[in-house]
Subunit: 200 residues, 2 copies
Amino acid sequence: MTGAGTRDTVTSHAVLDTALTLFAERGYHGTALSQIAEALEVRTPSLYNHMRSKQELLQTIVADTVRGVLDDFHAATEGRIEPVDRLYHAVLVYARRHATHRREAIVVNRDTSSLEEPFRSQMQALRREHEHALRAIISDGVAAGRFAVDSPALASFAIREMCVSIARWYQDDGPIGPEQVAREYTEFALDIVGLGRIGS
Amino acid sequence: MTGAGTRDTVTSHAVLDTALTLFAERGYHGTALSQIAEALEVRTPSLYNHMRSKQELLQTIVADTVRGVLDDFHAATEGRIEPVDRLYHAVLVYARRHATHRREAIVVNRDTSSLEEPFRSQMQALRREHEHALRAIISDGVAAGRFAVDSPALASFAIREMCVSIARWYQDDGPIGPEQVAREYTEFALDIVGLGRIGS
DNA sequence: CTCGCTCCCTAGCGAGCGTTAGTCAGTGGG
DNA sequence: CCCACTGACTAACGCTCGCTAGGGAGCGAG
């Protein structure tokens, strides 16, 4: 029926994956479809059997990633009430994701501006949702006397972007695993909101 | 002699400045020379009276910025011996620079990969110089018992990238000035290296 | 006034881009 | 065994890119 058969062929997933790698490496505008095709050992027009356009590739990557971040966040924080507990798990999954999904993170953070409207605005709204949710945890923690920061907005920016940047230096074949990085960075986050100064 | 006269004309500095703005907005590959020309109210080929190539614009931006970061660092740390003192001032100038030179920071961090070799490698080497210098301060502080971190490398990555990201959210017309942001972020950096846990 | 320089202009080159049309070989189902 | 279909191919489209060539207007210096 939907047979890929034994013939040498290419799947939609393979196209998306290769695009992801190249977009992360050279950026959306810096990557030509001919390069994606070459990496798949196929002629450029053949890509159109597996996608609608170059822009659609970027949209799929961004949408999937942003959705994943939000799902992660809710799964990690739901049922937890203590601000320390909520922040701990929110940062843990966020940091871990940036070690395990490096390419996605790089593309989303660099090339969201290359998305066509109105898709771009929709994605930015979703990103702000996560940003506001994290900031709310910090604000709640300050109000409850568990955290000590002058500006929850600044602290939440610092924590978020610190995690995002993991994608820029982390190496899969390095000496340190995603879980370990995530834990260390979560420690940093708790330091930033002043847990070390207050004492847990 | 080198007269711009009273005629409506354009300077090399204006071209570089407009390129900087547009590169920061849409990226190097996402910006066409025609867009730079349009912003300057000039036809595209006229740009070549003030530059040699599009690539040269990027090289100038990156070189000037990287050089500035390194100069800042040395000016801020020279003569200081105490790790806390050195880290404090190193982070202060680094964070401040990313609030006052947002466009430069965005371009350097996003588009260094669009530099042609061997220039790209040279710039990356200079960037690593700053990275290693900051890491050395942390390592020294740990050895001296002033800081407490498991991995100086991780802490230095976190601090650096946290500062870099200021460029991505800071607004010149916002309620908070560069100096204030820099001070807050320097506090965060000291938290990360464990000053809050040890006590100053 | 005139010479020479600066700098913008129009015209156009060659290359590469994303994308479409139309063809055909190989494959699995009946 | 044949037929329909998937998915690769070649050819070519219109467009935009970075960049060059060559001409001409405005300016300061003498």
